[in-house]
């Protein structure tokens, strides 16, 4: 008996909400990036659920590209965090409140 589509979607939405809560609440830039990755992961799960439901491989292709874009985004985001830390010695987004002084 296959898993029904609504289970995949419910889990995907819950993980997305958890990631959104993490982005809003947490002050550490690294944890914010991790919660963004969790949101992207939840969207991948929804795509895979739909690919299983409609027996079409296009959902999995979309996951392939979302995964690639997420990897590129993490690389650039972490480079940004490293550059900011080198300049301001902090990774807390509350301390990044002026552009240049």
């Amino acid at each position: 008996m296959a898993v029904p589509l609504s289970y995949y979607l419910a889990l995907s939405i819950t993980l997305f909400a958890l990631g959104a809560v993490g982005v809003i609440i947490r002050r550490n830039a690294l944890v914010v990036l991790m919660c963004i990755e969790m949101m992207l992961n939840s969207v991948n799960l929804a795509f895979i659920g739909f690919a299983d439901y409609y027996k079409a491989v296009d959902g999995q292709m979309f996951v392939f590209f979302v995964l690639t874009v997420a990897a590129a985004e993490v690389a650039v985001g972490l480079a940004l965090v490293v550059a900011i830390f080198r300049n301001r010695a902090t990774v807390y987004v509350d301390d990044l409140n002026i552009l240049k002084w």
Binding site: M38, N41, D52, D58
Partner: protein
């Protein structure tokens, strides 16, 4: 099969909660790795074997390793101090709002009337069908992705490079 899904979903949810509410970013990263493995297990249940392997290799094996390297590089030892919130009850309000939105979305998505499902397709998520679709229907996004990765590499190197005085 559904019992396995519920076990993996419970692991994914619990590790997701722990990612958000752990103090040290290193522990958040490790719980996120557990989350990725649980979701990869769910991909295996959904006939997406290739994507499950790619998830473990790329997400848990490359992206999270990059996160751990940066955490080690920045040497964040102390847990974050709680800053003063501009509005009172901001955290609790955010959690309640996100929970409310999630409940509404879950209800809406599970009650939606979808076109009926199709029958079993042999070899849906294996490497051959992914490759067959990737190099015929999705050839242009595939080539554009290579350019995107090149841009990301150049950008990351430029941003993180040490400026020599």
């Amino acid at each position: 099969m559904q019992i396995l899904f519920f076990i993996l979903a419970a692991v994914a949810l619990i590790s997701g909660v722990l990612v958000v509410f752990q103090t040290h970013p290193l522990r958040s990263a490790l719980w996120l790795i557990v989350n990725f493995f649980a979701v990869a297990g769910i991909y295996l249940l959904a006939q997406a074997e290739f994507i499950a392997a790619i998830q473990v290799i790329v997400y848990a094996g490359a992206i999270m390793v990059l996160f751990l390297f940066v955490i080690m590089l920045l040497n964040l030892r102390q847990p974050e101090a709680q800053p003063a919130m501009p509005f009172f009850g901001q955290k609790l309000g955010g959690i309640i709002l996100a929970g409310f939105t999630a409940v509404i979305l879950v209800y809406g998505f599970t009650q939606a009337k979808l076109p009926p499902a199709r029958e079993m397709a042999p070899g849906l998520g294996n490497t051959e069908s992914i490759a067959r679709s990737l190099f015929t229907d999705y050839l242009l996004p595939f080539e554009v992705t290579s350019v995107l990765l090149l841009v990301a590499i150049v950008g990351a190197v430029v941003l993180a490079k040490t400026r020599l005085k």
